[in-house]
């Protein structure tokens, strides 16, 4: 195009596009703001929100599925088998609890909030809540210990288990050492009388 025409056309385009832009920003001066004042106003999170983990220890059966599903290995679970005479109760979903859980630690600083631990839990005891304000000053406080057993309980459970195992081992040894009874003859077929 003719350079003179280009020159004037550029100037006209510049001025008109600037004017359009300024009109838009001027109109926005009178639009209500879209932000909320956070500490005073807190938005409600939707029901499926994935934030801090919570474990309901009454329902935990110690199956270790959540720890195996976690991609960053932030759940540490240790279990102690219970002896048959102990009754640990039944979870709210009907599963019978057979394991003590002396250690159930979640390092929430490692957690990547993917939610993969929630799906395999048979009793739905580990859930992701909508709590997002849980910062701490000390990193050690971010390791959540969910187990409800006191050290005395743990000692007792371990001692019981050890005793039961020893008894079982002794029983097995005694059964191996005792004289075998005479084998009973196989049952004869009934006389077809």
């Amino acid at each position: 195009m003719n350079p003179v025409r280009t020159y004037f056309r550029n100037i006209w385009l510049a001025l008109s596009s600037i004017a359009i832009g300024m009109r838009i920003t001027f109109k926005h001066l009178f639009v209500r703001s879209v932000t909320v004042q956070y500490p005073d106003v807190k938005l409600k999170l939707p029901p499926r929100a994935r934030n801090r983990l919570y474990v309901n220890m009454d329902d935990c059966i110690g199956c270790d599925q959540c720890a195996m599903a976690c991609p960053v290995d932030c759940i540490t679970i240790e279990t102690i088998k219970s002896t048959p005479d102990q009754d640990l109760g039944v979870t709210s979903t009907g599963h019978k609890k057979r394991l003590h859980v002396p250690q159930f630690d979640i390092d929430i600083a490692k957690c990547c909030y993917c939610g993969l631990c929630v799906y395999p839990c048979p009793t739905e005891c580990i859930v992701m809540t909508d709590v997002y304000e849980f910062s701490e000053f000390d990193r050690k406080n971010l390791i959540y210990n969910y187990s409800v057993m006191t050290p005395a309980d743990i000692e007792e459970a371990r001692a019981k288990l050890k005793k039961a195992e020893e008894e079982a081992a002794a029983k097995k040894a005694a059964a191996a050492a005792a004289p075998k009874p005479a084998p009973t003859p196989p049952p004869t077929p009934l006389d077809p009388k």
């Binding site: 100037i11 832009g21 300024m22 920003t25 001027f26 926005h28 001066l29 703001s33 879209v34």
Partner: protein
């Protein structure tokens, strides 16, 4: 001096010093107000609210900002040129403040009523370039040097459109003294130079397109003079971190910042005095008097400052060669045309 007579004080050294420090007080107050205005206007343009927690709706935030800057550690880079590094912010501020000496704030107050008023102002504000170059060089930082070079080139090239715009106003008002220029325009809005000045109607109508055009071009050039978007490549955050300001922190940075805001008002004040009637009331003799004059002057100045803020938050920034192109190939030819036309109309 009229202010002293009005207040009934004698003119000795002490009172003269106090009176010449009045613009400094004004600058400090104005900086606080403009900081608040900028943050609120930019926030509402962007559909958000700015600070709400420091004082009611953030009114105390400028104080908090200044307090934060004052209590920062004073760091001077090891390899920097210490003397120039420390001197640069003061030169920038002093050059800007020197320009305030000839601005008529009111009919009874002008710092120095010299006959060469606006010429002195243009000369004194050119010293800002030296301060910026000093700051960029003394920081011993490649990014600062870039910013300083670009800024120096920009400010020097935009002095010419400003001088030409001033020339046109002076041709109509026939005086370089800003107080006389303002008094020439008193008597109501129709007497303002931007609408042709207090001249006979035919001459006025012929002058009208050229004076309005000159006003817009002068306004654009004044934004460039102050290093604000769309001409802020000297401190373009996305490219040069902070340009020549990169190594400055604390009080020195506050000084640069204050100088930038003072410069914003200075160029607005010059445009207001030359084109928009200065301190004269738009209604003629109604609502005029020494305090009313101050009110009208500050109101018009703040209106232009608001326009600068609005433009800043809308437009992207120009590249350095496009900036030079705008100045030399667009603004100056149109201004030459206006000078020629205005001169012709005034002579005939």
């Amino acid at each position: 001096m009229e202010l002293l007579q009005l207040l009934g004080l004698e003119t000795n050294l002490l009172t003269i010093i106090i009176v010449s420090a009045l613009p400094l007080v004004f600058i400090l107050l104005y900086a606080l107000v403009t900081l608040y205005l900028e943050m609120k206007v930019s926030a509402h343009i962007q559909d958000r609210v700015a600070y709400m927690r420091t004082g009611w709706h953030g009114v105390l935030q400028p104080f908090a900002d200044i307090l934060k800057l004052l209590q920062k550690e004073d760091t001077v880079p090891t390899a920097a040129d210490r003397f120039l590094f420390k001197l640069a912010p003061f030169i920038v501020f002093a050059a800007t403040y020197a320009g305030f000496a000839v601005i008529p704030f009111s009919s009874v107050y002008i710092g120095s009523n010299i006959n060469l008023g606006v010429f002195f102002m243009i000369a004194a504000s050119s010293l800002v370039v030296i301060g910026i170059l000093m700051g960029g060089w003394a920081s011993n930082n490649k990014w600062s040097i870039f910013g300083a070079f670009r800024s120096a080139a920009q400010m020097i090239s935009y002095e010419i459109p400003i001088a030409l715009g001033v020339l046109i106003a002076v041709m109509i008002t026939e005086s370089l003294n800003l107080q006389e220029v303002t008094q020439f325009q008193s008597g109501g809005i129709q007497n303002w130079v931007v609408f042709g000045g207090p001249l006979p109607l035919t001459q006025k109508l012929l002058l009208l397109p050229f004076t309005i055009l000159t006003f817009f071009i002068l306004f654009i050039a004044s934004i460039a003079e102050v290093n604000r978007t769309p001409f802020d490549l000297a401190e373009a955050e996305s490219e040069l971190v902070q340009g020549f300001n990169t190594e400055y922190s604390g009080m020195r940075f506050a000084m640069f910042y204050l100088a930038e805001y003072a410069n914003m008002f200075l160029v607005s004040a010059v445009v207001v005095s030359l084109f928009l009637g200065g301190w004269s009331s738009p209604f003629g003799t109604a609502l005029s008097g020494p305090l009313w004059d101050l009110f009208w002057f500050v109101a018009k100045g703040m209106f232009l400052v608001f326009m600068q803020i609005w433009i800043r938050w809308t437009l992207p920034r120009l590249r350095v060669d496009q900036l030079m192109y705008t100045s030399w190939k667009v603004l100056i030819p149109f201004l030459f045309l206006c000078v020629f036309a205005v001169g012709l109309i005034l002579v005939l």
